[in-house]
Symmetry: C2
Subunit: 262 residues, 2 copies
Amino acid sequence: MEIRVAAAQIRPRLGDIEYNRRRMTDFARKAAELEVDLLVFPELANSGYNFPSREFALKCAESLDGETVRIMSALAREYSMYIVFGLCEREGERLFNSAVLVGPEGLIGVYRKVHLFMREKEIFERGREFRVFTTPIARIGLMICFDWLFPEAARTLALRGAEVIAHPANLVLPYCPRAMPIRALENRVYTVTANRVGYERGLRFIGLSLICAPTGDVLAQASSSHEELIYADIDPAVARDKRITEMNDIFKDRVPEAYALR
Amino acid sequence: MEIRVAAAQIRPRLGDIEYNRRRMTDFARKAAELEVDLLVFPELANSGYNFPSREFALKCAESLDGETVRIMSALAREYSMYIVFGLCEREGERLFNSAVLVGPEGLIGVYRKVHLFMREKEIFERGREFRVFTTPIARIGLMICFDWLFPEAARTLALRGAEVIAHPANLVLPYCPRAMPIRALENRVYTVTANRVGYERGLRFIGLSLICAPTGDVLAQASSSHEELIYADIDPAVARDKRITEMNDIFKDRVPEAYALR
């Protein structure tokens, strides 16, 4: 079954949660007009990225029963769509850089970022687990931004059955758009990287959101500077076939006993 | 200490071992004129690649005390050079697709290919271990051709201390030259991919040998069709520094307890 996947490359405003929710709502409606089945927003889409302090981040943070999850779940239900978005998540006094998956059925799951970048280490707790969620449209794995650099992240998701990796990002280093086709290829999965654009307190985000196929082909790519919606039609079943030649299956050919984990 | 590393992109002739040794010798002399410290030849450089049968491969195969290792060791001694080359290796009745490292001190070590491609599975036994060798010029890890697709290969070598990955190849798929900069970047190591050119019984080899830096930069790249020597000057100490930002060390930031190995 073909599905339509999309990345919403937006420009959140730091600390302006009301605005950010409206912008996400606008893009969810645009995606609905395009009959998108899976829509991915950037990392920390509700809050912006470059917090001046942990206290500031704490003020932006929301729990999983908060307003942003509620709004996104309602949109998912209204439009029969699955939505992944970055959330500055609060649980008690702890903060997580999270990716949330909602669908017509409501909240499906959350992934808390494992590989924290730069000053995120001073703000967020580290997540512990890479998670894959089975939905009617696809098995969806979640990773966030800097996770791209660690091949173990996408590999773990693929080994756990992910057909599509939804990848909210706030990229500032230049490398990721070159790496994602390789992540897709080496795992024979689809990837949807939703990056943001704009500037925040000295950081420039590089845009270039992209959707990659199990062949390593780039199916759609955004600009480096503008808000936009990119999309592609994919068949998740293709990602279940791990053959790269008639005699090579990239999973069956793995030799874990030869691999160092530490 | 800066060292000069090189890849000899040659065109071996299938089954013409005398010719292949002469060609390797010619390129070793060229490299010596350029004061190369580490020279890498393609996969199966002594024998060619696309054997019509296992019997044919058996006739081309040599042991580690055979003539090709002897000649390469003598060149390494004469020119104070380290040389990695692909060898169709025989041990008793078993065949391995191997990469051999020799230096002025003689035979240093051998790596037997772990991830066999296509019909190699009908000819060769699979290797069991990724190996890194400490030499006076650098810690050198070995992998061969199709190993590039499995991120665990380069990762294992880097975790075991490789500063330079010598990568003999006989590439026929188009992807590897795009992937090697990512392998170098994600492990912050240097990579030297020595591919071959030419045709053999319906297979076209893609050339495009390349040398990559821990930054993901391509330091040198060969053509897709011609025999040539490419080289670059590198500092292996750079590969010992795993920081990608002032707050991120790509090894210390790994979270093995979150990674699936199987």
